[in-house]
């Protein structure tokens, strides 16, 4: 298929991770908010992890040429012509 799954996968992690880390930065000093997670700012920490993962996926997905696109024949269509 002409769409490399790593591109949308990378994007959703970039956006979600980005939202979470930004929110984490703005709520850094909020002790009451992070009481639930035992004082750990999960939004900032985990948001960054997700952001980095998303970036790697997105870059790899954009670089790699996906083997199949709508114009070239599919595996089962190949072989017929030649």
């Amino acid at each position: 298929m002409g769409l490399d799954i790593r591109v949308p996968l990378g994007l959703i992690f970039l956006i979600t991770g980005g939202i979470m880390s930004l929110y984490g930065i703005f709520t850094r000093g909020n002790v009451a908010l992070y009481e639930k997670s035992m004082g750990v700012n999960l939004n900032l920490g985990w948001g960054l992890v997700m952001f980095i993962f998303g970036m790697i996926m997105f870059i790899v997905g954009r670089r790699q040429k996906w083997q199949d696109d709508p114009v070239t024949p599919r595996p089962w269509e190949r072989g017929k012509g030649h």
Binding site: M1, G2, L3, I5, P8, L9, L11, I12, F13, I15, T16, I19, M20, Y23, G24, T27, L33, Y34, E35, K36, S37, M38, V40, L42, N43, W46, G47, M50, F53, Q67, D68, P70, R74, P75, W76
Partner: protein, 599 residues
């Protein structure tokens, strides 16, 4: 529940992507092959993640968390014994026939190998099953949304259930209608990573709270933290099953019957871009599958270990269950943050016959999310939960539309349609499947017992299935008549066995013994496993006996369908580390290590 705009934003991003993938893939859906088989062009790792994600539906996540809270790490047998060996087997031995035979579905393989009537039995029972499974998934999701009060204050309470059902139906319908199997697979990959991203921090923070694995071991009885302890006898472990029943019933008959024959998962492997890839799919899937107990079962254990918010914490630490009784651990270990079951009508806690409160273990994972996640990451956790519900539903819908179009519509209703017509039919079947699922979800709301009965019927139909495939693929003498009678006899045997036995402390009726009580099992799980063992054995013997007296098909017709008549897959162009068998050994090695660590 206190959700803020940030949680809603994260969930919204997910739903935009889910539908966006459908729209992006729409233009590639040119033929029925694209729609039903993803053009057989998907790389192995993508199919592999979809393979487990499709199986990781609502019942799985909620049920395994609940079971972890109730029974402990022993639940991981459902993964380690109950999935990995079968996944390795299907990849190494069976995939060459599914993929190589060019069959477009599992029932179609049965027609090529046996005959029309064997296919019909499988196609119809499977189609009905998928619709009900996705309906149950939808029902469970709507119930959970209601219980968590997700839409509380946004829409009136009495509409929450309806809105949840309709919303999930429309979204799943949307992305499958547009992008077919490819869309479902892509979304399953997305869902896989979101589930990991949502649950991994939960486990981390939870473990931190209870003092790590050592803390759990300290709080809970040892039977909950060791997976093999007490397996020698049914009365000394919390499942109420002895190791023979576990290994044969769960590890062999039920798990091989599911992973090796269920089109829902096999379809993901059939979408792979080559036979070698298709064989790798279940093996790749086995690796994360092996570690899923840490994501879905461990939160259940943590939930019962958390003591900080419990009245009288510490007092509840129980050294060991009373010996002798089969399933005592239920009430004998701490309940942590597991809430009591509430009566939906009266709003009062439900009490059992002895006046003790009943705990709602199904809420183990959702309660963990609410307990540990602050707003922001809470949105991510809820997204992960919703993602798992959707992937389970979508898996069923894609399997349904394929089996309906190829094995029912094309086989019995319209044989001579154009490819475009079948593509259109597939889209219509998607709509039909989703509408039927919604109907099933509503049926579940009004007749709770009907769902139990259906689950039972599925297990009776599925139990003997693996014998048919095993003989069909590895014994060339097996005939169509043999397979057909064996299949029916096996289901009959399951029915009779169920009618004659009963789990301990259950009343005759839907739970068994509706013919006559002959034998009592220590638990319903033991009964279930032994029903499967009987069904399998009867199917095996009857199929062999009938095959011996009926005429076999000529060997030339069976090339590519039977092991002994099919050339072995050529692997000379692969390096040793690229071969599926190397991967299989690595997977099995890891499995042994995991079992030793948690023995």
């Amino acid at each position: 529940m206190n959700l803020t705009y940030i949680d809603w934003l994260i969930m919204l991003v997910y739903f935009i992507f889910v539908l966006g993938i459908g729209f992006a893939l729409k233009r590639y859906m040119r033929t029925s092959n694209d729609f039903f088989l993803a053009g057989r062009s998907i790389p192995a790792w993508v199919c592999g993640l979809a393979f487990i994600s499709a199986n990781l539906g609502a019942q799985e996540v909620i049920g395994m968390g609940a079971s972890g809270a109730k029974y402990g790490i022993i639940t991981s047998h459902f993964y380690w014994i109950g999935a990995i060996p079968a996944m390795v087997f299907v990849g190494i031995f069976m995939m060459p026939f599914y993929y190589g035979s060019k069959a477009r579905s599992v029932p179609e393989y049965l027609r090529m190998r046996f005959d029309e009537k064997t296919r019909a039995v499988n196609a119809f029972s499977f189609a009905i099953m998928t619709v009900f499974s996705s309906g149950i998934s939808m029902y469970a999701m709507a119930l959970l949304i209601q219980a968590l009060g997700l839409f509380h204050g946004i829409i009136p309470d009495q509409y929450i259930f309806h809105v949840s059902v309709i919303l999930s139906a429309v979204i799943v319908l949307g992305y499958i209608f547009l992008g077919g199997l490819t869309s479902a697979i892509y979304n399953e990959v997305l869902q896989f990573f979101l589930i990991v991203a949502g649950f991994a921090p939960l486990v981390w923070i939870g473990l931190k709270n209870v003092g790590g694995w050592d803390g759990i071991k300290h709080t809970l009885p040892t039977t909950m933290t060791r997976s093999w302890q007490g397996m020698a006898h049914a009365s000394t472990n919390s499942l109420g099953v002895e190791w023979v029943g576990l290994a044969m019933g769960l590890g062999f008959v039920l798990s091989f019957g599911y992973w090796c024959t269920d089109f829902l998962v096999i379809q993901r492997a059939m979408a792979a871009d080559s036979e070698v890839s298709a064989r790798r799919v279940p093996l790749i899937a086995a690796i994360p599958k092996m570690f899923f107990p840490f994501l879905v079962i461990l939160p259940g254990l943590i939930a019962v270990s958390v003591t900080s918010h419990m009245p009288g914490a510490g007092a509840a630490v129980v050294s060991h269950a009373n010996p002798g009784s089969a399933v005592p651990l239920d009430e004998a270990h701490p309940h942590g943050i597991i809430p009591q079951k509430m009566d939906a009508l009266s709003g009062k806690p439900v009490l059992d016959t002895n006046g003790n409160p009943v705990y709602n273990y199904d809420l183990a994972i959702p309660v963990m999310l609410l307990h540990f996640f602050p707003t922001g990451i809470l949105g991510l956790g809820l997204t992960a939960l919703l993602a798992s519900f959707m992937s389970g539903m979508a898996g069923n819908v894609t399997a349904f539309n394929t089996v309906w179009t190829y094995d029912i519509y094309q086989a019995y209703i319209n044989k001579k349609g154009s490819d475009q017509h079948y593509l259109w039919m597939g889209r219509m079947a998607t709509i039909g499947g989703v509408i039927l699922s919604v109907a099933a979800a509503y049926a579940a709301t009004s007749f709770n017992n009907i769902m139990d009965a259906l689950q039972l019927i599925f297990s009776l139909v599925n139990a003997p299935l693996f014998a048919t495939f095993l003989l069909g693929m590895f014994w060339k003498r097996t005939t169509g008549h043999g397979a057909f009678t064996g299949l029916l006899a096996g289901t009959g045997a399951a029915l009779v066995h169920h009618g004659l036995t009963l789990p301990a402390d259950a009343q005759p009726g839907i739970h068994g013994a509706w013919i006559h009580l002959v034998h009592t099992y220590p638990s319903d799980m033991a009964q279930n496993f032994w029903t499967a063992i009987f069904a399998f054995t009867v199917n095996l013997l009857v199929t062999m006996a009938v095959s011996m007296v009926t005429a076999p098909r000529p060997e030339s017709e069976l090339v590519g369908l039977v092991y002994s008549l099919t050339p072995k897959p050529v692997e000379t162009h692969l390096e040793w580390y690229e071969k599926p068998s190397t991967l299989a050994f690595a997977v099995l090695g890891m499995l042994v290590v995991l079992n030793l660590v948690f023995a």
